[in-house]
């Protein structure tokens, strides 16, 4: 059993196994299920993620019309060859957006760790897949590694926007993805922890201020930046860069920032972007039309 990132890294390094393996062993102990059953369960989640990305890349629209279609725009732009950022980075962004657009359109997704932040982990996985060509088993491991880091955040801080702001949702998702990318790319458990720390440090203080209280604006684009942040931080960690503040202390800082965050900025749609003139107008248009 691991309670924090330091223990997780220590367990993986002392046993000379991947972080995914530590999470699988813990799940076996907790659930009483066999390794095969647990892998199969995660395989089903992976399939749902694949289908959501595929559906989003074909173009979807939400009920309100606030979101949808941006994943297609970005894919077309990548194909035009004019993109300034690397194709892998933009591919991850578009696949994260695709997932959240499907979510906003009431499609089927897998919460990672929540529905509002469901794009980052699959978005980065399916983009990195194009370059690293992982096996199906390795892709499933990617999800277990993400789960292990998310597990620490969920238990020591929060993964709820209402409790800790967007840093707790997209921030957590982004850190989880960064750590998993490092492992898939052949980095060490310590490097995964560094990637998580670097990512989270850059998400600290991010508020949850959804326009009209809907999981659309700015949630979809926050997933885009969460994916981009994760890949950049993973590359930094793989390059040998470390975080001066250890990962567990960053998680603790995130928790404390969440505690002091005003209620208006924690999923109440009363502050931030939700309270801008345009945010208020959109809310009125959407809910006014329902009356």
């Amino acid at each position: 059993m691991f309670r924090n990132v330091a223990e997780l890294v220590e367990l993986a390094e002392s046993k000379n196994v991947k972080i995914a393996e530590i999470m699988i062993l813990q799940e076996m102990e907790f659930s009483g299920l066999s390794r095969e059953q647990i892998i199969e369960k995660m395989d089903r989640n992976l399939t749902v993620m694949e289908q959501a990305v595929e559906r989003g890349l074909n173009g979807v629209q939400s009920v309100t019309g606030l979101t949808g279609g941006d994943a297609v725009l970005l894919q077309n732009y990548i194909k035009s060859g004019k993109a300034l950022a690397g194709d892998l980075l933009l591919d991850a962004v578009s696949k994260a957006v695709a997932t959240n657009e499907v979510n906003a359109a009431m499609g089927m997704i897998c919460a990672t760790p929540t529905a509002g932040s469901a794009g980052v982990v699959p978005g980065t996985l399916f983009a990195v897949k194009e370059k690293l060509n992982p096996t199906r088993a390795e892709m499933i491991e990617f999800l277990f590694t993400s789960a292990a880091f998310g597990f620490v955040v969920a238990n020591n801080a929060s993964i709820s926007g209402a409790a800790g702001g967007c840093q707790a949702e997209v921030g957590s998702a982004s850190g989880m993805a960064a750590a998993a990318i490092v492992e898939l790319a052949g980095g060490t458990p310590s490097q995964s922890a560094e990637a998580m720390a670097i990512t989270l440090k850059n998400m600290l203080g991010l508020v949850c201020d959804p326009v009209a209280g809907l999981v659309e604006v700015p949630c979809v684009k926050r997933n885009a930046m969460g994916a981009s942040n994760a890949i950049t931080a993973a590359d930094m960690a793989l390059a040998g860069i470390t975080s001066r503040i250890p990962c567990d202390e960053v998680i603790d800082a995130m928790y404390k920032i969440g505690l002091t965050m005003p209620v208006a900025l924690r999923e109440t749609a009363e502050g931030g972007l939700a309270a801008t003139p345009t945010g208020r107008r959109l809310a009125e248009e959407i809910f006014g039309s329902y009356k």
Partner: protein, 220 residues
């Protein structure tokens, strides 16, 4: 530890857009259906707080109805549940309430058929996790995640021991238990969460006990 499984983090598989306003709402509806024991003829759904303000955009309405139709959080029929309910002959109505409740995501569900009626209040506390806080005006706390037995009984001495003796005889371990009543000596409700599934014979044995008027099973 609040979260214990890798699948609490990577999961649940669900119909969007919100784990609290959609998946949680569907789960509350499904608990109401399970407690009712069958598909009702009529459902009256009252939405409070954030549920009342944002239900259309979040699909809270279709999610609750989907739950009452026994759909899980990942059932792709959720977005069309209102039509499905109509086709199935289930009359559905919504009321949007102004009353401020303890929790922003609160729903009250009333289910009816010719002979039965059930009223339940549920809250969605985040990430798809829910709590049932009231059943037929009895206050209680039920997660819907564990097998549970709800016993409606007269508030007399010895009743708790009679019920727990039945469970003990069947080697069923009690994980959590609470008793609630409206008035001393009147009708009371016992909520018992257990670790194993509850067999029919156990239910029947409890039903036969003196001072027990109704036994409801909750298995999920």
């Amino acid at each position: 530890m609040k979260y214990r499984s890798a699948f609490d983090i990577i999961g649940p598989v669900m119909i969007g857009p919100s784990s609290s306003h959609t998946a949680g709402a569907a789960r509350i509806g499904r608990v109401a259906r399970t407690l009712f024991g069958k598909q009702p003829n009529k459902a009256i759904i009252s939405l409070y707080g954030s549920f009342a303000k944002t239900y259309r955009g979040h699909g809270t309405d279709v999610a609750v109805v989907g739950g009452i139709l026994d759909f899980d959080t990942d059932d792709e029929r959720i977005p069309t549940s209102l039509t499905i309910a109509q086709e199935a002959g289930m009359e559905v109505s919504f009321t949007i309430e102004d009353t401020v409740m303890d929790h922003p995501n609160t729903v009250k569900i009333r289910l009816f058929d010719e002979d039965n009626e059930l009223e339940l209040v549920g809250i969605s506390i985040g990430g798809g996790t829910i709590e049932i806080t009231e059943l037929n005006t009895f206050k209680l706390k039920l997660s819907g995640e564990h097998p549970a037995i709800l016993v409606v009984h007269n508030d007399v001495f010895g009743i708790i021991s009679s019920v727990s003796t039945v469970l003990a005889n069947h080697e069923i371990n009690i994980g959590h238990m609470e008793v609630s009543r409206k008035e001393k000596g009147q009708m009371a409700l016992m909520v018992i969460e257990v670790d194993q599934k509850i067999k029919n014979e156990v239910m029947k044995e409890i039903e036969r006990l003196e001072n027990v008027s109704q036994v409801i099973r909750m298995v999920e």
